[in-house]
Symmetry: C2
Subunit: 445 residues, 2 copies
């Protein structure tokens, strides 16, 4: 086993689940591990305390005149539940068929660590200044990162921000992502009764919160995939003919895509292709619903309460705050009579589109092409990396989204993995990028 | 504390939850406790093993020429969850303000034990033959009781079947129930994906089982309370003008009723009063729904699966099997494309209407009136006691539904209780019934 892989496995063994209080010591352990590793690579590094989990900051300045790259990633991971669906335990990294299985393998430990390994291998030959910002709260909304970036605007100044927390379009196909969807995550809680009641004695005469929840969801998105919140589509930027053209050339097989997630068929808005639906159309999805009896068998109860958690993926120029307002107003309008409605707002994020013709993007395309021996493709992404918007806004630097993962990596799901070849090529691409960047930005040698 | 109350508390301390495998020893303990108690009252008694939980059978024959009463009840109880909502632990019976709080206090240990206490107090002066059938599977569908009754038709022969597992119409108002709703309990399970996926990467392009479940529920019952399953209402017997008239005289305050369950307003079919909706109209209620993330905060997931458990309360002449067939056919028709649907059928029960002018019913009315000092009212009940139908069918004896509980007893919910006065009056009414029955049925002295 080579050294970077051995180290990645060590990193993945730390169950740094940011959503759970019980894993707070593991979060600290993961941060300390990174600090130690970056110091060994010749970086000055520290775990900066925040109101939440620490941010690992590290830098190695090789020359004032050299271009500077800020690498962003996160060391926290999603909860591993449901545990019973993992073939091998989530925090006991296991190699099977050229893939490394573990929570965080692809999202994001494996991807961010490729850059750590790259700077380590370059050692004294690192031709650019490199700064690392690796946070521990990406999976819970990054609430302490933006204040950190804003407070350290000059310290973080860079010519390019390099982010590896996204997928390649297909195995073996080097990919740069130039668009991300935004996000608004909310929850509706309904109460129809002061207490749970017997469904026989009361059924037919009292409100049933599960029905109200179901009915509201049916009013939020129609079966064809059209979101019914008034004003939801008002600010949506249409897809340009050039993008449609570019995407149509990507190797994409809808049947294969459906098969990969075990779906009988794909779903979504008529009139748009799958890539368009995922990359350039907003959507609404329930992420969790619960009411009444959850156990095995039957219980004759009418529950007092119901909840549904939901999120909307947004595209340029939708605004998460405005969408949350529209949604809350609509929820309050459609809630059936007789129910108390509470609306919660969780994290959100701005959609992002970055120019593909910036020097760092072009350098990145060349770096990736060299590593994989194929021409780099430009794609958008359905997911959200809210901090990308903030890096652009605060630092004013172009962001390069250089992903080493795959859609099939089971992100946020059981049996998350990274292909070993992608981890290896990722390290190579990272080194290429650091080597090529000076030529493209016209600084340095 | 008087002896029957002390003994009831002992009985309630046994956590005889029939739905949970872990409580199997407690089920046996409750059965044994009853056997021992009935033997002390001069009965021959045994816990008869079945394929499931044992049935306690006991009898005391005072004379071939005397009328025979078969008392039915159940010693099993509902699960106590959610435990955190109980003010005092469910299996540590506690008296507060003249009420005894414990799981099973009203459903059904407190009610069935009133009869055990009554025959015990009558001792050698018991003027009728009494048989007890007390089962341990009422809360999980009574699947072994009907075979037992059928196999013991002659041993169980009786002039009346006395059942106390229902509520009084109002505190202090003696009540005989002459109608029960039937039941069909089912579950729908939906699968849209082979695995859970990230809601960002996939949202808008793949099926979401939570939406399919919500949409199907919205198609099963409209917001006005009308069940949309084709044929659902076909066999419903209309409410007679005489019943409407009788019910309209009952002391009932809709606002008070809503307040008692903490509802802002009542719900249900337009054109029917609350009592009519609960007693003589069929209904459909979701008893549990679940999909995706159930924990605190947010998780950006699209779940592969969703389920909803639901039950239909049926009225004369609806048939549970036919309704289940109609429902399954409708579910298979409305399930959106792209989802795998599994339909489960749990327990069911026939609706029941018994004549109010039988001798046992008239004797029971007199017995109750004497105990409470008020005229007995005749009501129906929204709940189901499926075995009542089978007793009538197999034994051919009239069934007397003499309830000592209240709607507000929190059946199947946290903080179940029985009013001590109802337990005491229940013992008195039971003794009155045994004393009066011979005169009414024209047998014996």
């Amino acid at each position: 086993m080579n050294e970077p892989l051995r180290e990645l496995i060590e990193f993945l063994k730390i169950p740094s689940v940011s959503a759970k209080e019980e894993h707070k010591p593991d979060i600290q352990k993961a941060a300390d591990w990174l600090v130690e590793r970056l110091r060994r690579a010749g970086f000055s590094a520290e775990a900066v305390p925040t109101a939440g989990h620490p941010i690992v900051y590290a830098e190695k300045i090789v020359g004032e005149e050299r271009p500077t790259v800020l690498v962003y990633g996160h060391y926290d991971v999603q909860p591993a539940e449901p545990l019973e669906l993992w073939k091998t335990p989530p925090f006991e990294p296991t190699i099977r068929d050229g893939k490394l299985y573990a929570r965080g393998a692809s999202d994001d430990k494996g991807q961010v660590f490729a850059h750590v390994a790259a700077v380590s291998q370059l050692g004294g030959e690192l031709p650019v200044n490199v700064k690392f910002v690796i946070e521990g709260e990406e999976e819970v909304g990054s609430s302490n990162l933006v204040p950190f970036v804003e407070a350290n605007r000059e310290r973080l100044a860079a010519d390019a921000v390099l982010v590896s927390d996204s997928p390649m379009f297909a195995p073996g196909l080097p990919t740069l992502t130039y668009g991300l969807r935004g996000l608004t995550y909310m929850e509706a809680r309904l109460r129809g009764l002061g207490r749970d009641v017997h469904s026989g004695a009361y059924g037919g005469a009292v409100p049933n919160a599960a029905h109200a929840a179901a009915w509201m969801i049916s009013q939020l998105k129609d079966p064809m995939g059209w979101v019914r919140i008034p004003g939801f589509y008002d600010d949506v930027e249409p897809i340009s003919p050039a993008e449609r053209e570019m995407w149509s050339k990507l190797p994409f097989d809808e049947a294969e895509y459906a098969a990969e997630v075990g779906a009988r068929s794909t779903a979504g808005e008529p009139g748009y292709g799958i890539l368009e639906r995922r990359w350039a159309r907003p959507t609404f999805d329930v992420n969790g619903i619960g009411s009444g009896y959850q156990g095995e068998g039957s219980k004759t109860v009418i529950a007092a309460e119901a909840f549904f958690k939901f999120s909307m993926r947004l595209v340029p120029n939708q605004d998460p705050g405005k969408i949350a307002d529209l949604t809350e107003a609509y929820l309050r309008k459609i809630v059936p009579e007789g129910y108390e409605l509470e609306v919660l707002r969780y994290h959100g994020g701005q959609p992002v589109l970055v120019p593909t013709d910036s020097s760092p993007m072009q350098a990145a395309a060349a770096a990736l092409s060299r590593a994989w021996g194929r021409e780099t493709v430009f794609t958008r992404e359905g997911g959200s990396i809210p901090i990308v918007y903030d890096f652009m806004r605060v630092l004013g630097a172009p962001v390069v989204l250089m992903g080493f993962g795959l859609e099939s990596d089971n992100l946020h799901a059981p049996n998350e993995k990274i292909d070993l070849i992608n981890f290896e090529k990722g390290i190579e691409a990272s080194k290429n990028f650091f080597r090529l960047l000076p030529q493209y930005v016209g600084k340095g040698k």
